[in-house]
Protein backbone atom coordinates (compact mmCIF):
# COMPACT_ATOMS: atom_id res chain seq x y z
CA UNK A 1 0.00 0.00 0.00
CA UNK A 2 2.60 2.50 1.22
CA UNK A 3 4.88 1.71 -1.62
CA UNK A 4 2.15 2.04 -4.23
CA UNK A 5 0.92 5.43 -3.03
CA UNK A 6 4.43 6.90 -2.75
CA UNK A 7 5.09 5.73 -6.30
CA UNK A 8 1.93 7.58 -7.39
CA UNK A 9 3.03 10.74 -5.55
CA UNK A 10 6.43 10.51 -7.18
CA UNK A 11 4.88 10.22 -10.63
CA UNK A 12 2.61 13.19 -10.01
CA UNK A 13 5.57 15.31 -8.90
CA UNK A 14 7.60 14.18 -11.88
CA UNK A 15 4.78 15.14 -14.22
CA UNK A 16 4.42 18.55 -12.58
CA UNK A 17 8.15 19.25 -12.89
CA UNK A 18 8.04 18.20 -16.52
CA UNK A 19 5.07 20.42 -17.17
CA UNK A 20 6.81 23.37 -15.51
CA UNK A 21 9.97 22.88 -17.56
CA UNK A 22 7.99 22.43 -20.74
CA UNK A 23 5.90 25.58 -20.25
CA UNK A 24 9.02 27.67 -19.55
CA UNK A 25 10.64 26.29 -22.67
CA UNK A 26 7.50 26.94 -24.70
CA UNK A 27 7.23 30.55 -23.58
CA UNK A 28 10.91 31.07 -24.42
CA UNK A 29 10.62 29.48 -27.85
CA UNK A 30 7.45 31.41 -28.65
CA UNK A 31 9.04 34.75 -27.72
CA UNK A 32 12.21 34.10 -29.69
CA UNK A 33 10.31 32.70 -32.65
CA UNK A 34 7.92 35.68 -32.69
CA UNK A 35 10.78 38.17 -32.68
CA UNK A 36 12.70 36.28 -35.34
CA UNK A 37 9.63 35.89 -37.56
CA UNK A 38 8.88 39.60 -37.40
CA UNK A 39 12.49 40.76 -37.37
CA UNK A 40 14.39 38.53 -39.80
CA UNK A 41 12.64 39.85 -42.97
CA UNK A 42 13.78 43.35 -42.01
CA UNK A 43 17.44 42.38 -41.87
CA UNK A 44 19.22 43.05 -45.11
CA UNK A 45 22.69 44.06 -46.20
CA UNK A 46 21.55 47.66 -46.19
CA UNK A 47 20.07 47.27 -42.67
CA UNK A 48 23.46 46.05 -41.43
CA UNK A 49 25.66 48.58 -43.17
CA UNK A 50 23.80 51.88 -43.22
CA UNK A 51 23.42 54.25 -40.31
CA UNK A 52 19.88 55.06 -39.16
CA UNK A 53 18.14 57.87 -41.02
CA UNK A 54 15.10 59.88 -40.09
CA UNK A 55 15.36 58.90 -36.39
CA UNK A 56 15.56 55.23 -37.36
CA UNK A 57 12.46 55.11 -39.53
CA UNK A 58 14.66 54.28 -42.48
CA UNK A 59 18.27 53.40 -43.14
CA UNK A 60 20.06 50.70 -41.19
CA UNK A 61 21.47 50.25 -37.74
CA UNK A 62 25.21 49.97 -38.40
CA UNK A 63 26.18 52.70 -35.93
CA UNK A 64 24.26 50.99 -33.14
CA UNK A 65 25.99 47.68 -33.87
CA UNK A 66 29.35 49.41 -33.58
CA UNK A 67 28.19 51.25 -30.45
CA UNK A 68 27.06 48.01 -28.82
CA UNK A 69 30.34 46.26 -29.56
CA UNK A 70 32.46 49.18 -28.34
CA UNK A 71 30.60 49.76 -25.10
CA UNK A 72 30.58 46.03 -24.36
CA UNK A 73 34.25 45.68 -25.20
CA UNK A 74 35.21 48.51 -22.87
CA UNK A 75 33.13 47.01 -20.05
CA UNK A 76 34.57 43.51 -20.47
CA UNK A 77 38.17 44.64 -20.85
CA UNK A 78 37.93 46.64 -17.65
CA UNK A 79 35.77 44.36 -15.51
CA UNK A 80 37.38 41.02 -16.37
CA UNK A 81 40.87 41.55 -14.88
CA UNK A 82 39.49 43.27 -11.79
CA UNK A 83 36.81 40.66 -11.33
CA UNK A 84 39.09 37.66 -11.77
CA UNK A 85 41.77 39.27 -9.62
CA UNK A 86 39.30 39.90 -6.82
CA UNK A 87 37.96 36.37 -7.10
CA UNK A 88 41.47 34.90 -6.79
CA UNK A 89 42.18 37.16 -3.86
CA UNK A 90 39.01 36.02 -2.10
CA UNK A 91 39.41 32.35 -2.91
CA UNK A 92 43.16 31.86 -2.57
CA UNK A 93 44.62 34.61 -0.41
CA UNK A 94 42.16 35.21 2.37
CA UNK A 95 40.59 32.87 4.85
CA UNK A 96 36.96 32.14 4.19
CA UNK A 97 35.79 33.69 7.44
CA UNK A 98 38.08 36.75 7.50
CA UNK A 99 36.67 40.26 7.79
CA UNK A 100 38.05 41.40 4.39
CA UNK A 101 36.48 38.47 2.59
CA UNK A 102 33.13 38.99 4.25
CA UNK A 103 33.06 42.70 3.48
CA UNK A 104 33.98 42.19 -0.18
CA UNK A 105 31.59 39.29 -0.60
CA UNK A 106 28.76 41.21 1.05
CA UNK A 107 29.38 44.23 -1.18
CA UNK A 108 29.49 42.09 -4.30
CA UNK A 109 26.26 40.37 -3.37
CA UNK A 110 24.52 43.65 -2.60
CA UNK A 111 25.75 45.20 -5.85
CA UNK A 112 24.46 42.23 -7.82
CA UNK A 113 20.91 42.93 -6.66
CA UNK A 114 20.76 46.62 -7.58
CA UNK A 115 18.53 47.53 -10.55
CA UNK A 116 20.54 48.62 -13.56
CA UNK A 117 18.90 52.06 -13.69
CA UNK A 118 20.67 52.83 -10.42
CA UNK A 119 24.01 52.04 -12.04
CA UNK A 120 22.96 54.29 -14.88
CA UNK A 121 22.19 57.12 -12.51
CA UNK A 122 25.47 56.64 -10.71
CA UNK A 123 27.36 56.56 -14.01
CA UNK A 124 25.57 59.68 -15.15
CA UNK A 125 26.40 61.60 -11.98
CA UNK A 126 29.95 60.30 -11.60
CA UNK A 127 31.39 59.67 -15.07
CA UNK A 128 29.24 61.89 -17.29
CA UNK A 129 28.92 64.92 -15.00
CA UNK A 130 31.47 64.84 -12.16
CA UNK A 131 34.43 63.53 -14.17
CA UNK A 132 33.18 65.46 -17.20
CA UNK A 133 33.42 62.51 -19.54
CA UNK A 134 30.05 63.37 -21.05
CA UNK A 135 27.82 60.82 -22.79
CA UNK A 136 30.43 58.57 -24.30
CA UNK A 137 31.47 55.02 -25.04
CA UNK A 138 33.85 55.26 -22.10
CA UNK A 139 31.21 56.46 -19.61
CA UNK A 140 28.87 53.69 -20.78
CA UNK A 141 31.57 51.03 -20.72
CA UNK A 142 32.77 52.00 -17.24
CA UNK A 143 29.22 51.99 -15.89
CA UNK A 144 28.57 48.55 -17.37
CA UNK A 145 31.91 47.38 -15.99
CA UNK A 146 30.78 48.26 -12.48
CA UNK A 147 27.45 46.63 -13.13
CA UNK A 148 28.89 43.28 -14.25
CA UNK A 149 31.78 43.21 -11.77
CA UNK A 150 29.79 41.38 -9.04
CA UNK A 151 28.75 38.70 -11.53
CA UNK A 152 32.30 38.13 -12.71
CA UNK A 153 33.61 38.04 -9.15
CA UNK A 154 31.00 35.56 -7.99
CA UNK A 155 31.13 33.19 -10.93
CA UNK A 156 34.94 33.26 -10.95
CA UNK A 157 35.13 32.66 -7.22
CA UNK A 158 32.75 29.75 -7.50
CA UNK A 159 34.79 28.29 -10.33
CA UNK A 160 38.02 28.68 -8.34
CA UNK A 161 36.54 27.12 -5.21
CA UNK A 162 35.28 24.21 -7.30
CA UNK A 163 38.84 23.25 -8.26
CA UNK A 164 39.65 20.18 -6.14
CA UNK A 165 42.00 20.99 -3.32
CA UNK A 166 43.95 17.88 -4.24
CA UNK A 167 45.18 19.64 -7.40
CA UNK A 168 46.67 22.39 -5.28
CA UNK A 169 48.28 19.88 -2.96
CA UNK A 170 49.77 18.02 -5.92
CA UNK A 171 51.21 21.23 -7.30
CA UNK A 172 52.68 22.23 -3.96
CA UNK A 173 54.04 18.74 -3.38
CA UNK A 174 55.87 18.95 -6.71
CA UNK A 175 57.68 22.07 -5.54
CA UNK A 176 55.23 24.67 -6.80
CA UNK A 177 55.00 28.10 -5.22
CA UNK A 178 51.61 29.60 -4.52
CA UNK A 179 51.80 31.74 -7.64
CA UNK A 180 52.85 28.81 -9.85
CA UNK A 181 50.07 26.70 -8.40
CA UNK A 182 47.49 29.36 -9.17
CA UNK A 183 48.72 30.11 -12.67
CA UNK A 184 49.49 26.56 -13.79
CA UNK A 185 46.82 24.53 -12.06
CA UNK A 186 44.00 26.50 -10.48
CA UNK A 187 43.45 29.01 -13.29
CA UNK A 188 43.39 26.46 -16.13
CA UNK A 189 41.02 24.24 -14.14
CA UNK A 190 38.71 27.13 -13.35
CA UNK A 191 38.92 28.86 -16.72
CA UNK A 192 35.78 27.33 -18.14
CA UNK A 193 33.67 28.53 -15.21
CA UNK A 194 35.35 31.94 -15.28
CA UNK A 195 34.76 32.25 -19.01
CA UNK A 196 31.11 31.33 -18.55
CA UNK A 197 30.74 34.23 -16.12
CA UNK A 198 32.38 36.58 -18.61
CA UNK A 199 30.15 35.39 -21.45
CA UNK A 200 27.11 35.86 -19.24
CA UNK A 201 28.29 39.40 -18.58
CA UNK A 202 28.79 40.08 -22.28
CA UNK A 203 25.18 39.12 -22.76
CA UNK A 204 24.07 41.49 -20.02
CA UNK A 205 26.07 44.37 -21.51
CA UNK A 206 24.71 43.78 -24.98
CA UNK A 207 21.15 43.66 -23.69
CA UNK A 208 21.35 46.56 -21.23
CA UNK A 209 19.33 49.71 -21.88
CA UNK A 210 18.73 51.79 -18.73
CA UNK A 211 22.35 52.00 -17.61
CA UNK A 212 23.61 52.74 -21.13
CA UNK A 213 21.14 55.33 -22.30
CA UNK A 214 22.04 57.49 -19.29
CA UNK A 215 25.79 57.18 -19.78
CA UNK A 216 26.59 56.51 -23.44
CA UNK A 217 23.75 58.60 -24.77
CA UNK A 218 21.59 57.90 -27.80
CA UNK A 219 23.46 59.57 -30.65
CA UNK A 220 22.73 58.02 -34.02
CA UNK A 221 25.89 58.94 -35.87
CA UNK A 222 28.77 56.50 -36.27
CA UNK A 223 30.98 56.48 -33.20
CA UNK A 224 34.53 57.42 -33.94
CA UNK A 225 36.20 57.37 -30.54
CA UNK A 226 35.88 56.28 -26.95
CA UNK A 227 34.95 59.80 -25.93
CA UNK A 228 32.11 60.30 -28.37
CA UNK A 229 28.50 59.41 -27.56
CA UNK A 230 26.82 56.42 -29.11
CA UNK A 231 23.61 54.44 -29.16
CA UNK A 232 23.55 50.68 -28.57
CA UNK A 233 21.21 48.27 -30.29
CA UNK A 234 19.21 47.68 -27.12
CA UNK A 235 18.74 51.42 -26.62
CA UNK A 236 17.84 51.83 -30.29
CA UNK A 237 15.25 49.10 -29.98
CA UNK A 238 13.85 50.69 -26.84
CA UNK A 239 13.54 54.13 -28.43
CA UNK A 240 12.10 52.85 -31.70
CA UNK A 241 9.43 50.90 -29.86
CA UNK A 242 8.63 53.23 -26.96
CA UNK A 243 8.39 56.32 -29.15
CA UNK A 244 6.50 54.36 -31.81
CA UNK A 245 9.05 55.39 -34.44
CA UNK A 246 9.22 52.10 -36.33
CA UNK A 247 8.10 48.75 -34.98
CA UNK A 248 9.41 47.09 -38.09
CA UNK A 249 12.95 48.30 -37.49
CA UNK A 250 12.59 47.66 -33.76
CA UNK A 251 11.94 43.98 -34.47
CA UNK A 252 14.79 43.89 -36.93
CA UNK A 253 17.09 45.25 -34.23
CA UNK A 254 15.79 42.80 -31.66
CA UNK A 255 16.27 39.85 -34.01
CA UNK A 256 19.81 40.93 -34.70
CA UNK A 257 20.42 41.32 -30.97
CA UNK A 258 19.33 37.72 -30.40
CA UNK A 259 21.52 36.49 -33.23
CA UNK A 260 24.45 38.51 -31.90
CA UNK A 261 24.16 37.07 -28.38
CA UNK A 262 23.83 33.59 -29.83
CA UNK A 263 26.91 34.11 -32.00
CA UNK A 264 28.94 35.46 -29.10
CA UNK A 265 28.09 32.37 -27.07
CA UNK A 266 28.98 29.96 -29.85
CA UNK A 267 32.23 31.70 -30.77
CA UNK A 268 33.31 32.07 -27.13
CA UNK A 269 32.61 28.45 -26.31
CA UNK A 270 34.43 27.26 -29.40
CA UNK A 271 37.44 29.38 -28.52
CA UNK A 272 37.47 28.09 -24.94
CA UNK A 273 37.25 24.46 -26.01
CA UNK A 274 39.82 24.96 -28.71
CA UNK A 275 42.51 26.90 -26.93
CA UNK A 276 42.08 27.24 -23.20
CA UNK A 277 40.42 24.18 -21.80
CA UNK A 278 42.02 21.58 -24.05
CA UNK A 279 42.64 18.28 -22.33
CA UNK A 280 40.48 19.25 -19.39
Amino acid sequence: MMKGSSRVTENIIKTLIWAAALSVLTVLVVIIAYILIRGLPVISWQFLTEIPRNMGRSGGISSTIVGTLMVTLVAIVIATPFGIGTAFYLAEYTRRDSMVTRVIRFSAESLAGIPSIVYGLFGFIFFVKYLGMGWSVLSGGLTLAIMILPTIIRTSEEAILAVPNLYREVSYSLGGTKWQTIVKTVLPSAIRGIANGVILSVGRCVAETAAVVLTAGSALRMTTSLTSPTRTMAVHFYILASEAISFENAYGTAALLIILIFLINVVANTLINRFIAKGR
Binding site: R95, L166, Y167, R168, E169, V170, S171, Y172, S173, L174, G175, G176, T177, Q180, K184, T185, P188, S189, G279, R280
Partner: protein, 251 residues
Amino acid sequence: MAGQHKISVRDMNVWFSDKQVIHSLNIDIPSNEIISVLGPANSGITTLLRSLNRLSDLNPAMRVEGEILLDGNNIRDVSVTELRRKVGMVFDVPTPLPISIFDNIAYGPRLSGTKNMKNLTGIVEQSLREAALWDDVKDRLYTPAMSLSGGQQQRLCIARVLALKPEVILLDRPCSGLDPLSTAKIEESLKNLKAQFTIIIAPHNVQQASRVSDHIAFMLMGHLVEHGTAEKILTNPKDQRTNDYLTGRFG
Protein backbone atom coordinates in the same frame (compact mmCIF):
# COMPACT_ATOMS: atom_id res chain seq x y z
CA MET B 1 76.45 7.41 12.84
CA ALA B 2 74.16 10.34 12.14
CA GLY B 3 75.62 10.51 8.64
CA GLN B 4 73.82 7.43 7.42
CA HIS B 5 70.39 8.62 8.48
CA LYS B 6 68.53 10.30 5.68
CA ILE B 7 65.85 11.71 7.96
CA SER B 8 65.84 12.15 11.71
CA VAL B 9 62.73 13.14 13.59
CA ARG B 10 63.35 14.58 17.04
CA ASP B 11 60.63 14.89 19.63
CA MET B 12 57.84 15.61 17.17
CA ASN B 13 54.44 16.70 18.43
CA VAL B 14 51.59 17.57 16.08
CA TRP B 15 48.29 19.24 16.79
CA PHE B 16 45.19 19.94 14.76
CA SER B 17 43.91 23.07 16.51
CA ASP B 18 44.08 21.88 20.12
CA LYS B 19 43.83 18.16 19.42
CA GLN B 20 47.20 16.45 19.66
CA VAL B 21 47.56 13.68 17.09
CA ILE B 22 51.30 12.85 17.30
CA HIS B 23 53.03 12.51 20.65
CA SER B 24 56.81 12.99 21.11
CA LEU B 25 57.83 10.91 18.14
CA ASN B 26 61.51 10.07 17.55
CA ILE B 27 62.77 8.06 14.60
CA ASP B 28 65.82 7.79 12.37
CA ILE B 29 65.25 6.74 8.80
CA PRO B 30 68.17 5.11 6.99
CA SER B 31 69.12 5.87 3.38
CA ASN B 32 68.33 3.66 0.43
CA GLU B 33 65.92 1.41 2.19
CA ILE B 34 62.19 1.00 2.25
CA ILE B 35 60.62 1.72 5.59
CA SER B 36 56.96 0.96 6.20
CA VAL B 37 54.97 2.92 8.72
CA LEU B 38 52.19 0.61 9.82
CA GLY B 39 49.19 1.15 12.02
CA PRO B 40 45.41 1.11 12.23
CA ALA B 41 43.39 4.00 10.84
CA ASN B 42 43.87 7.38 12.53
CA SER B 43 47.26 6.47 13.99
CA GLY B 44 48.76 9.65 12.60
CA ILE B 45 50.69 8.13 9.69
CA THR B 46 49.39 10.54 7.07
CA THR B 47 50.09 13.36 9.49
CA LEU B 48 53.68 12.18 9.94
CA LEU B 49 54.27 11.89 6.18
CA ARG B 50 52.77 15.30 5.44
CA SER B 51 55.01 16.85 8.06
CA LEU B 52 58.12 15.47 6.38
CA ASN B 53 57.63 17.54 3.21
CA ARG B 54 55.95 20.41 5.05
CA LEU B 55 52.67 19.91 3.23
CA SER B 56 51.49 20.54 6.78
CA ASP B 57 52.20 24.25 6.13
CA LEU B 58 49.10 24.38 3.95
CA ASN B 59 46.76 23.74 6.86
CA PRO B 60 46.77 26.72 9.23
CA ALA B 61 45.16 24.59 11.94
CA MET B 62 48.03 22.08 11.83
CA ARG B 63 50.95 22.76 14.15
CA VAL B 64 54.15 20.71 13.98
CA GLU B 65 56.70 21.00 16.80
CA GLY B 66 60.08 19.38 17.15
CA GLU B 67 62.95 18.94 14.72
CA ILE B 68 62.95 17.16 11.42
CA LEU B 69 66.41 16.79 9.92
CA LEU B 70 67.11 15.92 6.29
CA ASP B 71 70.77 14.96 5.92
CA GLY B 72 71.33 16.67 9.25
CA ASN B 73 69.71 19.98 8.22
CA ASN B 74 66.50 21.21 9.73
CA ILE B 75 63.80 21.18 7.04
CA ARG B 76 62.63 24.57 8.31
CA ASP B 77 65.97 26.04 7.21
CA VAL B 78 65.73 25.14 3.53
CA SER B 79 63.31 26.67 1.08
CA VAL B 80 60.05 24.80 1.13
CA THR B 81 59.92 24.33 -2.64
CA GLU B 82 63.41 22.84 -2.61
CA LEU B 83 62.43 20.56 0.27
CA ARG B 84 59.38 19.30 -1.60
CA ARG B 85 61.46 18.54 -4.67
CA LYS B 86 63.81 16.50 -2.49
CA VAL B 87 61.01 14.80 -0.59
CA GLY B 88 58.44 13.76 -3.16
CA MET B 89 54.99 12.52 -2.27
CA VAL B 90 52.49 10.04 -3.71
CA PHE B 91 48.98 10.34 -2.31
CA ASP B 92 46.56 7.62 -1.23
CA VAL B 93 44.35 8.20 -4.26
CA PRO B 94 45.75 8.61 -7.77
CA THR B 95 46.01 12.33 -8.40
CA PRO B 96 46.70 12.97 -12.08
CA LEU B 97 46.25 16.63 -12.93
CA PRO B 98 43.68 17.18 -15.71
CA ILE B 99 46.37 17.61 -18.35
CA SER B 100 48.22 15.23 -20.63
CA ILE B 101 50.42 12.39 -19.42
CA PHE B 102 53.48 14.26 -20.66
CA ASP B 103 52.50 17.51 -18.96
CA ASN B 104 51.86 15.69 -15.68
CA ILE B 105 55.38 14.26 -15.61
CA ALA B 106 56.93 17.50 -16.84
CA TYR B 107 55.02 19.57 -14.27
CA GLY B 108 57.71 19.44 -11.59
CA PRO B 109 60.72 19.98 -13.87
CA ARG B 110 58.96 22.91 -15.54
CA LEU B 111 58.26 24.52 -12.16
CA SER B 112 61.96 24.48 -11.39
CA GLY B 113 62.81 26.03 -14.73
CA THR B 114 63.48 23.21 -17.19
CA LYS B 115 62.05 24.52 -20.45
CA ASN B 116 64.16 22.81 -23.07
CA MET B 117 61.89 20.33 -24.85
CA LYS B 118 64.65 17.79 -25.44
CA ASN B 119 65.58 17.72 -21.76
CA LEU B 120 61.94 17.45 -20.75
CA THR B 121 61.32 14.60 -23.17
CA GLY B 122 64.32 12.77 -21.76
CA ILE B 123 63.15 13.25 -18.17
CA VAL B 124 59.61 12.14 -19.03
CA GLU B 125 60.79 8.97 -20.75
CA GLN B 126 63.23 8.04 -18.00
CA SER B 127 60.70 8.65 -15.23
CA LEU B 128 58.03 6.62 -16.98
CA ARG B 129 60.50 3.77 -17.52
CA GLU B 130 61.51 3.76 -13.87
CA ALA B 131 57.85 3.65 -12.85
CA ALA B 132 57.27 0.77 -15.29
CA LEU B 133 54.68 2.75 -17.23
CA TRP B 134 56.59 3.61 -20.39
CA ASP B 135 55.42 0.66 -22.47
CA ASP B 136 51.79 1.35 -21.55
CA VAL B 137 51.80 5.00 -22.55
CA LYS B 138 54.64 5.68 -24.96
CA ASP B 139 52.22 5.97 -27.89
CA ARG B 140 49.81 8.33 -26.16
CA LEU B 141 51.90 10.75 -24.12
CA TYR B 142 49.77 13.67 -25.18
CA THR B 143 46.41 12.19 -24.23
CA PRO B 144 44.71 13.19 -20.95
CA ALA B 145 46.19 11.47 -17.91
CA MET B 146 42.67 11.03 -16.59
CA SER B 147 42.04 8.43 -19.29
CA LEU B 148 44.50 5.97 -17.70
CA SER B 149 43.33 3.15 -15.44
CA GLY B 150 43.61 3.58 -11.67
CA GLY B 151 46.79 1.51 -11.45
CA GLN B 152 48.36 3.36 -14.37
CA GLN B 153 47.39 6.70 -12.82
CA GLN B 154 49.14 5.79 -9.61
CA ARG B 155 52.28 4.74 -11.50
CA LEU B 156 52.03 8.04 -13.33
CA CYS B 157 52.07 9.77 -9.95
CA ILE B 158 55.19 7.82 -9.00
CA ALA B 159 56.80 8.77 -12.32
CA ARG B 160 55.83 12.38 -11.69
CA VAL B 161 57.67 12.29 -8.38
CA LEU B 162 60.69 10.56 -9.96
CA ALA B 163 60.88 13.39 -12.49
CA LEU B 164 61.73 15.69 -9.60
CA LYS B 165 64.94 13.67 -9.06
CA PRO B 166 64.06 13.47 -5.39
CA GLU B 167 66.06 11.92 -2.57
CA VAL B 168 63.16 10.68 -0.49
CA ILE B 169 59.81 9.36 -1.71
CA LEU B 170 56.79 9.34 0.58
CA LEU B 171 53.95 7.02 -0.39
CA ASP B 172 50.75 7.26 1.64
CA ARG B 173 48.87 3.97 1.11
CA PRO B 174 49.59 4.18 -2.62
CA CYS B 175 47.77 0.96 -3.47
CA SER B 176 44.59 1.43 -1.47
CA GLY B 177 42.21 1.47 -4.42
CA LEU B 178 44.15 -0.80 -6.74
CA ASP B 179 43.80 -4.36 -8.00
CA PRO B 180 46.43 -7.01 -7.05
CA LEU B 181 48.19 -6.86 -10.40
CA SER B 182 48.69 -3.08 -10.28
CA THR B 183 49.77 -3.40 -6.66
CA ALA B 184 52.38 -6.01 -7.60
CA LYS B 185 53.73 -3.78 -10.36
CA ILE B 186 54.09 -0.84 -8.01
CA GLU B 187 55.78 -2.95 -5.34
CA GLU B 188 58.18 -4.24 -7.97
CA SER B 189 59.10 -0.70 -9.04
CA LEU B 190 59.63 0.36 -5.45
CA LYS B 191 62.11 -2.45 -4.86
CA ASN B 192 64.02 -1.41 -7.96
CA LEU B 193 64.00 2.23 -6.91
CA LYS B 194 65.37 1.87 -3.41
CA ALA B 195 68.94 1.71 -4.69
CA GLN B 196 68.59 5.38 -5.62
CA PHE B 197 66.07 6.67 -3.09
CA THR B 198 64.95 6.50 0.48
CA ILE B 199 61.38 5.27 0.47
CA ILE B 200 58.87 5.77 3.25
CA ILE B 201 55.60 4.00 2.65
CA ALA B 202 52.36 3.70 4.55
CA PRO B 203 51.52 0.22 3.35
CA HIS B 204 48.11 -1.05 2.49
CA ASN B 205 48.28 -3.87 5.00
CA VAL B 206 50.72 -6.11 6.89
CA GLN B 207 51.21 -8.37 3.87
CA GLN B 208 52.35 -5.46 1.76
CA ALA B 209 54.67 -4.32 4.55
CA SER B 210 56.20 -7.78 4.71
CA ARG B 211 56.68 -7.91 0.94
CA VAL B 212 58.44 -4.60 0.46
CA SER B 213 59.99 -3.38 3.71
CA ASP B 214 63.52 -3.37 5.03
CA HIS B 215 62.35 -1.58 8.15
CA ILE B 216 58.98 -1.34 9.82
CA ALA B 217 57.67 1.23 12.25
CA PHE B 218 54.42 0.63 14.09
CA MET B 219 52.24 3.56 15.15
CA LEU B 220 49.17 3.62 17.31
CA MET B 221 47.09 6.63 18.32
CA GLY B 222 49.82 9.09 17.57
CA HIS B 223 52.58 7.17 19.33
CA LEU B 224 55.44 5.36 17.66
CA VAL B 225 55.17 2.03 19.46
CA GLU B 226 58.30 0.44 18.06
CA HIS B 227 60.43 0.17 14.97
CA GLY B 228 63.19 -2.04 13.68
CA THR B 229 64.15 -4.29 10.81
CA ALA B 230 61.21 -5.85 9.03
CA GLU B 231 62.30 -9.31 10.05
CA LYS B 232 62.50 -8.40 13.72
CA ILE B 233 59.16 -6.58 13.86
CA LEU B 234 57.33 -9.27 11.90
CA THR B 235 58.72 -12.28 13.71
CA ASN B 236 59.56 -11.00 17.15
CA PRO B 237 57.89 -7.70 18.11
CA LYS B 238 58.78 -6.41 21.55
CA ASP B 239 55.49 -4.70 22.26
CA GLN B 240 52.28 -6.63 22.90
CA ARG B 241 50.28 -4.02 20.91
CA THR B 242 52.43 -4.57 17.84
CA ASN B 243 51.89 -8.27 18.14
CA ASP B 244 48.14 -7.79 18.50
CA TYR B 245 48.06 -5.65 15.37
CA LEU B 246 50.20 -8.03 13.31
CA THR B 247 48.07 -10.99 14.27
CA GLY B 248 44.96 -9.09 13.25
CA ARG B 249 43.51 -8.58 16.69
CA PHE B 250 42.62 -4.97 15.86
CA GLY B 251 42.77 -2.45 13.02
